[in-house]
Symmetry: C2
Subunit: 186 residues, 2 copies
Amino acid sequence: MRNLAMHVSLDKDEADHVQSALQYKIIRKNSLVLKSGDICRSIYFVNKGCLRIFNTDDKGDEHNISFFPEFWWAADISSFSTQTPAFYAISALEHSEVFQLDYTVFEKLLVTVPKMERFFRILVQNGFHLYQLRITSNLSKTAEERYEEFQKQYPGLEQRISQKHIASYIGITPVFLSKVRKKLFG
Amino acid sequence: MRNLAMHVSLDKDEADHVQSALQYKIIRKNSLVLKSGDICRSIYFVNKGCLRIFNTDDKGDEHNISFFPEFWWAADISSFSTQTPAFYAISALEHSEVFQLDYTVFEKLLVTVPKMERFFRILVQNGFHLYQLRITSNLSKTAEERYEEFQKQYPGLEQRISQKHIASYIGITPVFLSKVRKKLFG
DNA sequence: CGCGACGTTGATTTGCCTCAACGATTGTGG
DNA sequence: CCACAATCGTTGAGGCAAATCAACGTCGCG
């Protein structure tokens, strides 16, 4: 899900079209970008900061599904691509700056810049792939292994976001993450 | 992922086109329909029997991601839609009969029967939705709750497939599933 | 018939959670 | 800008869910 262009090489004209479709936005830390149940009307290219996508269970506990630091595209892909209510919510973990692409504008862009079809296909594919990894690692790996996967997947991110969000991502309590970390490095 | 038509109503002519694109196939019990690493070149409408999609971890243990009993479409959607190597494998849990739709034929079908675009969109959307449910239920529910979810999702299937495959699906050992079942009904 | 895979059951172990207490860090209102 | 509150990360004690190991009866299949 990295990179604005994302394996789609655009000529000057196409790049201008895309550029003018994007809206620069500031997202304050902890503010909600997408509320669960609302329709995901935009996708967001993160230029600075970090967003997260998560769901809230019956008990009120939040579970982070992925993080979107710099140069990732953030969205509830399922909701965006079908314009139906989102299962997940999206919020900012840091003060963030994004380029927003609205669905209505995106549809027109698909006509003027057909290469965007490919761009979107890859976005969906990566979303799928990400889910697959989460499912299988939750089914077959220990907390320690999942923590190391997180470090590999998001280099440097552990210095920027709170332990409790990392714990939520790997599916354990912050208390237990603290013990895992202690065991791993002193 | 149910139903051949799947929310797409076709007229006589369109239905004929689709019909002639499908290939009837017998799949023997336990035979591999798709090998992990191969490209998923077809999707399969299950007319009789039951397929499963699963992955094999480093330790050699298999983890079932979903089942495809009658009237479901089976595929590694990610691999099929991008024609890249599959992460998962697909095999038959019972003697099965399917209608096979090859990617090359599918592409042509999209031209002659544009409604198939919608069909495929829904297929992908359902795949996404399924993954989301698995992730969140693995993160926030107990084995007992996940077992009941399985029963609701696949009515009657527990009578047809082995306990170990159900256990693999809900992410526990067959031994523990046996104890959960004992507790639930005598 | 006999072998191997399967499901069950009990005993034991382990991974992770809950609860509670404590400093450290962050956020907030005056 | 400070004072206080709230949240956070750490640590220890204790508990529970699920895994592992092992033994045994059953079933399907060659």
